[in-house]
């Protein structure tokens, strides 16, 4: 039944193939252009002189891409690349009327809606992972990172920091002694092991930071702005808090994870760079604010334990940054607003009950740590 159309008797007369052989058949095994005549029997029959008749069941015929003015057909039960091309509009219309499933494998109108739906579901899932999964993973993974690995990462960052800030460590003897005393007092009160390394860098930028693997750097610019040892002690305790919470490693895992996922989400759509940047800033800023808050808590605890005021650190920060609420958008900031931090540290402030952390002479020596040593 598959080949031959003789049993159809009268119908077997080939339909006019149109002028100049407007029905072209490619059999999918060679590129030879074969001119065929169509016969509409109970299947579509392709007649070619001296060749066996080829039949295509109407139900198996599907439309293939074609330029305007040509109907190009393929058949599920024939060779995958076999094509029939009809340029005669009337003949094409006649055939289309007989093929009920012609457009079945073309994307339907609902197709785009399904893609949109699944994409939004995927986007929601990625956003949920960024907001909840990655912070959780960072929290759980951080304790698993061995100290040795953390120290290595610290070494890498250390090299880059030193390269950026000119590698000028201040260490005149008297200042260094005062600095070590202050750090050790804070370290013991905070319960950290003695392996941490600290140094003052000769940079006018008023800042201090902690690196993974137990390194804390204080910039001379901050020392210059400080008015008493409690202010510097609060800041150093804050940085020790970052070390204690291993925030460097946690941030590394977190930032790597969010960057990757947000990049995955937006792919390479032209102009998506700004969107990626904006959403990343938004998400990582909120995470960073939380870490800063925890480090502040640590600092407050340490200062309470030593019986020293907590308000001092807030005042130093306020002196450095001024009131921030006017100038920046709070949801994009990596740190809580200085005025909020000052307010909080003032609220939990207790009158001094412990001995001063440094004597007046030691404090002066620390302030002058970057000055050339006295002969």
């Amino acid at each position: 039944m598959s080949i031959g159309g003789d049993e159809h008797g009268l119908e077997a007369a080939p339909a006019p193939a149109g002028p100049n052989g407007s029905v072209v058949y490619f059999d999918g095994t060679t590129s030879r252009r074969r001119l065929v005549a169509l016969v509409f029997a109970d299947r579509l029959e392709l007649h070619e002189p001296l060749q066996a008749v080829i039949t295509w069941p109407y139900d198996d015929i599907r439309r293939a891409d074609s330029p305007i003015g040509t109907l190009r057909l393929t058949c599920l039960s024939a060779s995958a690349l076999a094509r029939l091309e009809i340029r005669d509009a009337a003949l094409a219309a006649e055939l289309i009327a007989r093929c009920p499933r012609l457009d079945e494998n073309r994307p339907s109108r609902g197709g785009a809606a399904i893609i949109v739906g699944w994409s939004l579901a995927a986007a929601a899932s990625i956003i949920a992972v960024v907001l909840f999964g990655v912070p959780l993973a960072a929290d759980r993974l951080t304790p698993l990172v061995p100290q040795a690995v953390e120290r290595r990462m610290g070494d890498v960052a250390d090299g880059q920091v030193k390269a950026l800030f000119g590698n000028k460590v201040c260490d005149n003897a008297a200042g260094q002694a005062a600095f070590v005393k202050l750090v050790n007092t804070l370290r013991e009160a905070g319960g950290l092991d003695p392996s941490i390394q600290t140094a003052v860098l000769a940079t006018p930028i008023p800042n201090a930071f902690a690196l993974p693997g137990g390194r804390v750097y204080l910039f001379n610019g901050l020392l210059a702005k400080a008015e008493n040892p409690d202010e510097i002690a609060g800041v150093l305790a804050h940085e020790l808090g970052h070390l204690r919470h291993r925030d460097g490693t946690r941030n590394l895992i977190y930032n790597g994870g969010t960057s990757f996922l947000i990049g995955l989400l937006f792919g390479d759509v032209t102009g998506s760079g700004a969107v990626i940047f904006a959403s990343r800033s938004l998400v990582t800023a909120s995470y960073s604010r939380e870490a800063e808050q925890n480090a502040d808590n640590f600092s407050i605890d340490v200062m309470h334990k030593l019986g020293r005021p907590t308000k001092a650190m807030g005042e130093l920060l306020f002196r450095v940054t001024g009131k921030q609420g006017d100038s920046s958008l709070s949801i994009l900031a990596s740190h809580p607003m200085t005025e909020d931090r000052l307010k909080r540290m003032s609220e939990v402030d207790r009158p001094a009950s412990g001995p001063p952390l440094l004597t007046a002479a030691e404090w002066n020596a620390l302030k002058a740590i970057c000055a050339p040593p006295h002969k």
């Binding site: 891409d65 003015g69 690349l81 094509r83 091309e85 949109v116 986007a123 792919g267 032209t270």
Partner: protein, 381 residues
């Protein structure tokens, strides 16, 4: 019977060169990319697989060679699966890269830079494999194109030539292109018809050396750069097309150096138009927000409320997305569709009869290469 009329048999005159033509309707393509760009934004980019497929289907099926249109049989689902598998491979590679970089940095700051070379090689591999995917989805007269060869071998060649090109400040570029193209075309087939590339680096150099000299200056002279780039692209297209062979079939391009300058300037014109519209829109939004706050416009601009106003940020975001949408449409209409139409219009085919009875051959390649190319943000063919 000694007077034989000596009839000269009509020489089997070699058929005249055939023009290639593009039959696509510009409006239809514009609607296709407009809808596609909107959906791409709506699906945060995931629609790109479907859009890329639709664009190729349109371009391929309207490209007529000897009166018969080509066909693109690839489907978006293949691209999506290729992308997902490629991601599963790229993620561990990125992690390994990160750790190796960490070790290198520990020895010396910024020593991890050479590892970038690895991603260059990986990217070249992806380009080769992506080309193979696209070629095996290209069908003409019921017979598909296909490709053999090794993506890694290609990537290795590309790296060596790339180093040479960098060391000679781009002077070797024509020879690099010729060598790589020879590799790609030698491993390309139409059915059982093997491809080859006859373009010589020297010919490319002869046509384009003055552009190489002009390039450094054009960076500093804004209006010059698009001219130089457009001329370079035209020279490159012409040289590339004229070198392509499949068995006895030979392409020839007559593209003029100035052929693409108009296209690039139209795109630049649209960019400027969009930028102006965006500027006007932002100013309007700022004025609106200022009037809501009840402050004078000029005063509003001075206060920090400008960068803090959430409604203004949202409006700016909406404007930005609209601009991105518009630019995506403009770039695809001019630099894909119109460029393709111009390239085809300048190209003729000789010896097409060699492709009249070619036997089908070759296996389908998977879309993994396209996935890598997507994941690594590289493009090329």
């Amino acid at each position: 019977m000694n007077q034989m009329t000596f009839v000269v048999p009509p020489q089997p005159a070699s058929p005249p060169p055939l023009p290639l033509s593009f039959a696509g309707d510009r409006g239809e393509f514009r609607r296709l990319v407009t809808r596609g760009a909107a959906l791409e934004l709506g699906t945060v980019g995931f629609y790109r697989f479907w859009l890329a497929t639709d664009i190729r289907r349109h371009l391929w099926s309207n490209t007529l060679i000897d009166g018969d249109a080509a066909e693109y049989t690839g489907r978006a689902r293949e691209l999506l699966i290729g992308f997902l598998i490629a991601m599963a491979i790229i993620v561990p590679v990125y992690l390994a890269y990160f750790i190796a970089g960490l070790e290198a940095e520990r020895i010396k700051a910024f020593a991890s830079f050479p590892l970038l070379l690895f991603f260059y090689v990986f990217g070249q591999f992806a380009i080769y494999r992506a080309r193979r995917y696209r070629l095996t989805r290209t069908v003409w007269r019921g017979v598909r194109f296909w490709m053999s060869g090794s993506g890694w071998a290609y990537a290795g060649w590309s790296l060596l030539w790339g180093i040479g090109t960098a060391l000679t400040l781009g002077l070797l570029l024509p020879w690099r292109e010729a060598a790589l193209e020879r590799y790609k075309m030698r491993h390309s087939y139409y059915g059982d018809l093997q491809g080859s590339f006859e373009g010589r680096g020297w010919e490319f150099f002869k046509r384009g050396w003055w552009l190489w000299l002009l390039a450094p200056f054009s960076f500093y002279l804004f209006p010059a750069a698009p001219f130089v780039y457009a001329a370079y692209k035209a020279v490159e297209w012409r040289w590339w097309l004229s070198g392509i062979r499949f068995g006895g079939v030979r392409l020839e391009s007559t593209m003029r150096r100035s052929a693409l300058i108009g296209l690039y300037w139209k795109v630049i014109g649209w960019f400027l138009l969009f930028a102006a519209a965006m500027g006007a829109y932002l100013a309007g939004c700022a004025a609106l927000v200022a009037s809501m706050h009840g402050v004078a416009f000029t005063q509003f601009l001075k206060t920090s409320a400008l960068v803090q106003s959430v409604p203004l940020l949202v409006m700016a975001g909406v404007g930005y997305l609209a601009t991105v949408l518009g630019l995506n449409i403009v770039m695809r209409v001019y630099l894909l569709r119109d460029l393709w139409a111009r390239v085809l219009a300048s190209t003729t085919v000789h010896g097409i009869e060699a492709a009249a009875n070619v036997s089908a051959k070759g296996e389908l390649a998977n879309a993994l290469g396209e996935g890598f190319a997507d994941g690594l943000d590289v493009a090329g063919f």
